[in-house]
Structure formats: structure tokens, C-alpha cells
Amino acid sequence: MPRRLTMDWLPAPPDFRGHLRAAVETPTLGERLEKLAFLAQHRLGFLETIQLDRALGRPNPEPGSGFSMVRLAILASSTVDHLVPAIRVAALRRRLVVDVHTGAFGQHRQDLLDSASRVHQFAPQMVLLSFTARESIAGVPLTATLAEVDEAINRSIEELRVLWKAARQALKATAIQQTFLDVTEPLFGSYDRLVAGAPSRMVARLNDLMSEAAASEGVLLLDVARASEIDGIDAWFDAGRWMQAKMEIAPPAAPLYGDLVARIVAAQRGLSKKCLVLDLDNTLWSGVIGDDGLEGIVLGEGSAAGEAHLALQRYALQLKARGVILAVCSKNDTTIAEAVFRDHPEMLLRRADFAAFVANWEDKAANLKTIAGRLNIGLDSLVFVDDNPVERARVRESLPMVAVPELPEDVAYYVGCLANAGYFETVSFTPDDQVRAEQYAANTEREALLGSSESVDDFLRGLRMSVVFGPVKAVDLSRVTQLINKTNQFNPTTRRYTAEEVEAIAAAPEMISLQFRLLDRFGDNGLISILILRPEPEQADVLQIDTWVMSCRVFGRDLEFEAMNIAVETARRRGVRAFRANYIPTKKNGVIRDLYPRLGFTRVNAEMPADGTIQWHLNLAEYVGRKTHIDRLGK
């Protein structure tokens, strides 16, 4: 079996049966889920995956338990029931409990288009469409021209567009389209690629045109076609299983398939990893810099091992270019370690590429906490890459929320292992992503300013900040959606919206939606806050703060005060009398527990409901805006 199919970046499970039994016998749901999630962090086989899924059952974890529910509908033209356990286990790996509804075999059109169908009753948040290529290319003769092939394929894609539209508009769900698996056999051989009507050529064309359509409609892809190219079609498709049970995805591929699905679901929820933390000695180069010196370490062209380390550095830079933050966590002397980045001619990575650089002799788990703290991101946003199995095991033991890939023995395969683990899966790529790592790195300069400032006030003045704000604009839709779905800390209500829903909110005249971009002397922090206000039912002059998110990058700048000043002014102009707000506590948003009292809101409910929601009220007539050091640059 290909290495990737066994998911070798996950550590081998401890005594699986023993742990599973202990989990099943745990009476309280929260603890049981923790134990099952721990098992899900490991490399599980086909049978173990099914067992874990059965043990999971159909729980309904409470908000604040650290586990979130997701409703996923799968509409397919082949059998997919055997894939459901793997999806649920892979989601549990990411602390998501997925309720899966599989539509009746081949009934996807009725399921989506009939508003009385069971899928509509299920009200999924995500809809996965999984079709075989057979229907799309059936009946096209071998002699067809490219134009004729395209015509047939475009007819299928038009049907897909109808389904996507139904999923998004009628169900208000995120649509995920599975790419088409090429299960065709070679017909002409190498010549297949030169014949438009050859089966394999048509499937390739179908995937190309479908991907273009998906991109233009903002539909996400589950790329099993690419996965089968990496692992080999025999790993993904078994003709016998198709004949026996109409399974297009072979059961042994189920665990990886489930992980690929869960990556997208998690990415959509803002649960993808954000920061790659790298060890130095024997990870970025061969050798120990403290012992071997600059001339003694192996790095660069001319040595296979040296090239392997370069490949890892190059991949880290590619990740940085798409918005992944880089950090160093190493047992080393800081001065000696930094000198390598400055003085070694073969180094691709530079000191300035890292938003945090921690090299000392402390415990690595403690240093990872320092890194997360300094970057203001959760420990569960970190991926820690270290060649040393002892360090890896210790970090996993003390910080189970940090992802620590089980690297292969040979450094040549480090990049493959890291890439295949899919830690940094995304559902968008915006201009903000392209500069994010730089923005975090600029935080080092901001910290230096803070260090040299007499007071916080002095620091904030010295930053020379200005805010650009206005209603949510169509051009920023994907960044706005990304921010709403990714933000866990500064997020009092943790509501998630699809792009369609955000579009509808922005267009609704009775609602106020504001977006904020913060600039300072060190650069543009990008679009970093969204505020959505919605009228209370039958009280048009009272607005509820439906959603308010702010990137952790700009915490501590008083932007929340300036944003509230702006929101109050905007609302007053519309004759609004008061704001209402809810703070719904989660494991992640404790940092803004006191947000509303600090802004001058008063508490409404003395009694707290079971989920801990606190209700707040602000009379706009009494609001006194706090003066901040943020200038306004208008709309």
C-alpha cells in the first residue's frame, strides 16, 4: 500500500483496543470525546477506523466543550457509505463531530431540488457532491472532435451548476464538488492523450472544465483525481469493489479520503494550521551548528543530504508565500543559530522570514507556548517539525494540540511527509494571505517599538495608525468570509457564514456591515475586522451585534474602541437607539470576556443560561466614545 495511504505522518497508535475500551466505558460525554479524539490522532487502519466511528456514535457535544458539530450531506452517484466512518474519524482528529447524511443512491437531483426532501430536512452546512465520470462522458463517440467533447462535457457542467446553486441558495450550504476519478483503462496507449474522444482524455478535460466552473462560482473542490495520481489509481479504485457494490473509492483508501474531506471542513471552520515551527540542527541542515560550526554543517548543492535540507527550506518559503507563518524552535544558542541564517551562503531561509525565533536550552514545549503567545495564535495552530523522535514524543505528550508529523528516517522525504499531511489546507487564497507572513514578521519591529516606548499610550501613538473602513464590499467577499470563519479568539458569537450569506448580509438595507483595515508605520495589516449588526425582530431601532471578528494580529491597538465609535456613529445616523450584544463563551474566546463592559455596555441577564451566554445592552444616547490613537482614512 502506498505510504501516503497509511497516513504515515501520524504516530502509530498505542494499545488501540485498550484505549478504545477505556473510552467507551467513560460515562461523561466530554471525557469520552477527549479519549476518542486522542485515538483519532493516530495512524489507524481500515478496521480500526470503523471501530472508532462506532464508539463515537451520534453525540451532541455542548458549545464550549471544545468540540463543534458539523452537518454534512453527501450526494453521490456511487456507494459512499463505507467512507462515512473515515470522514467522521478524520473530523474528530480536528475536534469536529460530523453528522453525515448520505442521500439515496443516484437521487442527488431530487434531493437537492425538492425542498421537501430529507436532505433539506437535514439542513446541512456543507454538501459534498461525489459523482463518477461515467455519466458525463457516456455516449460520446471515440471519433468526436474536441469541440464535440467540450459540448458534451459542458452539458454535464451546466447540470452541476444547477446543483451547486441549489446547495448554496436553497440550503445555504457550502458546496464541495469532488473531482472525477479517472478509472478508465488505456485504449490506444500513449496515443490516448492525442485523441479528444479517448476515455482518459475526456475525464481529464472534464476535470479541467469543471474546475474552471467551480472557481468561477466559488465552489470548493475535493481533489480525489489528484490524490489518485499521487497514490496510483489502483490504490483508489478497485474494479472488483465497483462490480460488487458500486464503490468508486476503494475501501482501503477510505481513511485518507476521510482525511481529505475533513481537511476542507476544518479549513472552512478556520481550524487549519497557521504556523510552521522548525527545529534547526538536522532539520534545516545536517549536523549540530554548536559543535560542527558553519563549515561543518551539511547544506546545499553538492551533497544529496544538503539538497534535501534545501528542499525543506524551499518548501517552507513556498508555504510562507501563501500565508503560513514561520517560526524557529531549537535547542541552541541564539547568536550562533542566527549567524547561520546570516553567514551560510547556501541558506535559503533568512532570519527575517521568521515571525518568531526561539533558540535556547529550555524545554521545547515551553518554547512552543512562548511562540504561540508571541504570535497571538492558539497552540493548535502550530505544526512542529523536528527530526528528533524523542523531542517529537515529548511535545505530543505535553502539548497534544500541536501537530507533530512523524517524519520518515530519511531527510529526502521530509517535504513529502509535511506536504501530504495537509496541515495548511485552505478554502481561499486572498491578497491578504500573500503578505500575512510579512505582516507577522513586521510584528517583531512593532515589539521593538513597544520595548523602547515609555508607556503603552506612547507606543500606540508611535505606531501612527489609521483605519480604513466602510460597508462590506463584493471585491473583499472572500477575505471577509475567511475572517468570519477563521476567527476564534476575538469572536463573541462564533457564527460562521458562507460567502452567499455574507453577500446577502451586505446587500440587506436594514443591516449594517462594516469592514476595517488597519495601517501603521510598519505597513498595512490588511482587512482585519468585520462587524455585522442586525435589527431585533420588530424593533428596527435596536441593533443586535450578530457578528464581530478581529484578527489576533491587531489585538492591543484599541481598534475595538475605534470600531465601536464608528459603528455607533453609523447607527445614530440611521436613528438607531440601542445596541444589543451576546457573549457566548467558547474555549477560545476568553480573551474578550470583558469586551462589552469595557466598551460601556451594561449586562442584561443576571441569570446565565446553560451555555453561559451573557447578554449586553448599550443605550446609544449615553455612549461616550473612547479617544484612540487611530486616525480615520474614510470609506
Partner: protein, 80 residues
Amino acid sequence: MGDQEILDVLARVLRDLLMDDSIVLKMDTRREDVPNWDSLIYINFIVAVEIELGVKFKVADVESFANVGEIVTRIRAMLQ
């Protein structure tokens, strides 16, 4: 591997799949004798046994096995 050993593997796989430790398989056990042993579980069972023992059944065998004993016999032949 003897028949009893093979039978033990089959029973363990089926117990794990159905999360039911009370399942006992004999050579003359038929699918309908075991509660919840539906067609999806049957395919999963076949796949899990194939992975566990490193064998691969023919599609014709999978649809014609009349009882557990026939599965055992087929596996024994493949392991020889």
C-alpha cells in the same frame, strides 16, 4: 494456518466491525444467522479480512460463499 485459526480471525474481525463481543462463528454459520451482518458490513468484512491476512478474494467467490466454512476453505487454499 489451520481452519480454527482462520475462523478465529474471521470472528474477531466481525466482532470488531459490529462491536459485538458475543458473536460466535462456526463453519456452518450463515450471514443471516448473525444479527446486523448486512451487505455493507459483509463488504467491509471481506476487505478487513483481505488486509488482515494479505489475501484477495475473487469477486465470484465473494458472491457465492454460502457459509463461513466456505470462506475458511477459500482462505486456506490462498494461504497455501
